[in-house]
């Protein structure tokens, strides 16, 4: 048992903290207050962060990346999110697909895409699964209804695949240069056995971005429809076997959940840290009855709860980061993600309760955190995502 960090981990953490404090925090509220959801994105911060390594952190060293371990990744996510979780997510979203490329792509594909990804500070990626009528069914496919789930269709024509359909709520939609797409290549069976994955560059003929979604939280972070009208994707961009679905390679180091569980939990931790910092700063200066708010028992009890939950979450997050590095397979990453949803809701709401003022005044920063927190509900804590892990625990229990 050892909760201390290696020098390299600590270095990543410090570097991320500096970047977050000096570069992200000053633009956080400005970007999120922009009303047009197409304009909240800022290439400058992406480029600056990219040059520091925060875009390509997770690419293995042998492919020219930094090869940071999962503990470092968790630390960096928490630090970036302490300043702005939507900007933090815009960076870490790329790590997810770096992991995917290095674990399941062919060497040819790695060469073609990782090289570009490493060279270009504006190369960001995303993955499309959700469709207008298929959300929960993708996450927890119903055994009795094989046709439920996504519909994006791919049909082979010579050396190419023709894609038709649409995806929605896709991260980095509108700014991404490369997308991974799950498509049905056998429409007569369930998604578990009739799906093939493709890599689709943004400039693929027949592929375009549709509506840019206007979210109430995570406003910096782009989210759009992807539309495929006879989009032509070379077979060389097929990932894995036809109908090979979303199986991972044998060198999957993420405990089977492709790192998304750790990612949400670690970002939530950064948000909670931010809420604690803000609230503490506020109650140490705001006065009631001639004393600072810290003298009120009800304030102390709320602070206790904020810090207690945040430290519980930190413990859980660091443990699952280590589990990823140690290739421990458990349901803990999923449970930690579920836990992070409850925690971020409670902690940000307590923040709002402590940081309001007379005449309807509400700290803009606290308001933002509460809106960001709601995003977690469907990404990491809805009932589907809770039942998923419960079912796995039931299945694993002897």
């Amino acid at each position: 048992m050892d909760f201390s960090l290696t020098e390299e981990q600590r270095a990543w953490q410090m570097k991320a903290r500096k970047f977050a404090d000096e570069e992200i925090r000053p633009i956080s509220l400005k970007r999120e207050q922009i009303e047009d959801p197409k304009l909240t994105w800022d290439w400058e911060i992406i480029k600056k962060g990219s040059k520091l390594g925060f875009r390509t952190l997770a690419v293995p060293k042998e492919w020219g990346g930094h090869g940071a371990d999962f503990v470092s990744q968790g630390l960096v996510m928490a630090e970036l999110s302490r300043a702005d979780c939507a900007i933090g997510k815009a960076f870490s979203q790329n790590w997810k697909w770096s992991h995917l490329i290095s674990s399941v792509c062919s060497d040819d594909q790695k060469k073609r895409f990782l090289t570009k990804f490493l060279e270009d500070d504006t190369f960001v990626m995303g993955k499309g699964i959700t469709e207008p009528n298929a959300g929960g069914d993708n996450r927890l496919p119903p055994p009795d209804f094989p046709k439920s789930g996504f519909r994006l269709h791919a049909e082979r024509k010579g050396d190419e695949w023709i894609l038709n359909g649409e995806k929605c709520f896709i991260a980095n939609g509108g700014v991404g240069k490369l997308f991974f797409l799950d498509a049905r290549t056998d429409p007569n069976v369930g998604i578990k056995s009739g799906t093939t994955m493709f890599m689709v560059p943004a400039d693929t003929p027949g592929f375009r971005f549709g509506k840019q979604f206007n979210k109430s939280g995570w406003r910096f972070y782009m989210n759009a429809e992807l539309i495929f009208e006879n989009a032509r994707v070379p077979d060389a961009n097929r990932v894995g076997e036809v109908n090979g679905g979303v199986k991972k390679g044998t060198d999957d180091t993420t405990g089977g959940d492709l790192f998304g569980d750790l990612e949400l939990a670690a970002h939530a931790l950064g948000v909670c840290d931010n809420a604690c910092d803000m609230a503490m700063k506020h109650v140490k200066t705001a006065m009631k009855g001639g004393k600072t708010l810290t003298n009120q028992q009800w304030v102390q009890l709320k602070l206790n709860r904020m810090f207690m939950l945040t430290e519980a979450l930190r413990s859980f997050v660091m443990r699952i980061a280590w589990e990823h590095d140690a290739k421990v397979h458990s349901q803990n990453p999923g449970l930690a993600m579920n836990f992070s949803c409850d925690t971020i809701q409670d902690v940000t709401r307590l923040g709002v309760e402590l940081m309001g003022g007379a005449n309807g005044r509400m700290s803009a920063a606290a308001d933002k955190l509460a809106r960001d927190a709601v995003i977690w509900t469907h990404l990491g804590g809805d009932s589907v995502l809770r039942m998923r892990y419960a079912r796995r625990i039931i299945a694993a229990h002897k």
Partner: protein, 413 residues
């Protein structure tokens, strides 16, 4: 006789409002463009329609030309209106409640003569109150201590012949941008503390020297920190600069507009009735969606997990409404309630309902998946508006401390 049955008149009133809200209010309120714009102003034409139905003046006594609605009826109507749009409902509820207090209770015959006909005739005639009768959120600092939070009155009034000259600024007054008549709490002696030298003056919109300014979307405090104004409906700062008002506009004998009952948490739970309506809007939207959204081969309403969420919301709304209605009934029947338990039901309603409806709004949003956080959908607005209720009026923590003082029999007066 104990009864949960509304009178036939109350039911008719409610049904008429519900019908109006469904036909006229919801389609406008939930239009994606309006939702995304987050414009606090509600379409004036529909406010006018509501006025023509009597909803702007319904708490005014029948003798003076209103519908004479009591607190309970006002709460029933406010809930229905809020199902349509919370800002719209809040605006009407405020004008209606102030109409009753000002015209039925506070004004002299002469003042009524001057203002009543305009209030009755003009469908765009709204009312506002700039003042701080209800104790400002005291942050609990004086729990179980005799110390009182002093009311700070930021506007001074000095005599000049038959006039009063007003100077100062109220930082935020609900309804201010729409109000054609504003009751302003002033101090006639800037050095006196509390209510000792307080008075209330009626100031018609357009009076020279009074200006209303709506808040910027983002404001900055003295430490350079950004803040927003959280409110429902419209509101703004009111500044008086050598603003002359006839001394005849002073409300006789009044230092505050709401009574001691409100200050001790035994006043009207109208605000929480609005909140129940907000919760209902979220609830009804979730039911509608759960019936049509298919997952696992079935509408999600047929999944235990979603059914449980809907039941959780329904139970929160049922318990919230019962508490609000009891508080309203108690406000209408102060003697009977005092004999019963004397607990500060308004404070209880504040603490319970605002928490319960916030949870309900979050649960409802969860049913929508990613759509529940998109600004062109009503769900994130329900969540935000419910959080505004948690923050508004007084904090939940302070409300609970007031309840605790009542339990202990502690009084500050």
């Amino acid at each position: 006789m104990f009864s949960f049955q509304l009178s036939a008149e109350q039911q008719e009133f409610r049904d008429a409002v519900k019908d109006f809200v469904t036909r006229e209010v919801k389609p406008v309120a939930n239009h994606p463009d309006r939702l995304q714009a987050e414009d606090p102003h509600f379409v004036p034409a529909i406010l006018e329609q509501a006025s023509q139905m009597g909803l702007r003046t319904f708490a005014l006594s029948e003798a003076l030309g209103g519908a004479g609605a009591d607190t309970l009826t006002a709460c029933v109507v406010a809930e229905e209106l809020a199902v349509g749009d919370i800002g719209f409902a809040a605006t009407l509820a405020r004008t209606s409640e102030l109409g009753h207090i000002l015209f039925d209770q506070a004004m002299s015959e002469a003042q009524r003569k001057q203002f009543l006909s305009k209030y009755l005739e003009d469908d765009n005639y709204h009312l506002a109150y700039a003042g701080s009768d209800i104790e400002a959120d005291d942050g609990g600092w004086n729990y179980h201590r005799k110390d009182k939070s002093d009311v700070e009155i930021p506007v001074t009034a000095t005599k000049a012949g038959g006039d009063l000259v007003l100077n100062g600024t109220y930082a935020f007054v609900a309804n201010a941008p729409l109000a054609k008549l504003i009751a302003v709490q002033v101090t006639t002696d800037a050095k006196a503390s509390g209510l000792k030298s307080a008075a209330i003056v009626l100031v018609p919109a357009g009076t020279a020297g009074m200006s209303v300014k709506e808040p910027a979307k983002v404001e900055t405090d003295a430490n350079g920190e950004q803040f927003y104004r959280w409110f429902h409906g419209t509101g703004g700062a009111i500044t008086f600069k050598d603003c002359k008002v006839p001394a005849a506009n002073v409300l006789d004998g009044r230092t505050q507009l709401y009574g001691a009952a409100a200050a001790s948490g035994r006043g009207s739970p109208l605000v929480q009735a609005l909140n129940v309506g907000l919760g209902r809007a979220a609830y009804e939207s979730a039911i509608d969606y759960a019936r049509i959204r298919v997952q696992g081969g079935h509408p999600i309403i047929e999944h235990q997990a979603v059914g449980t969420i809907l039941a959780e919301i329904a139970i929160r709304l049922e318990t919230s409404r019962n508490l609000v209605w009891k508080a309203a009934w108690a406000a209408d029947h102060t003697d009977e309630h005092a004999a019963e338990s004397g607990m500060p039901l308004q404070s209880m309603a504040k603490a319970y309902v605002s928490h319960a409806v916030h949870e309900a709004a979050l649960l409802a949003a969860e049913c929508f998946g990613a759509m529940g956080v998109m600004k062109d959908m009503p769900q994130p607005h329900y969540v935000h508006n419910s959080l505004v209720f948690v923050h508004s009026d007084t904090s939940n923590s302070t409300a609970k401390l007031r309840v605790a003082e009542a339990i202990a029999g502690f009084t500050r007066d």
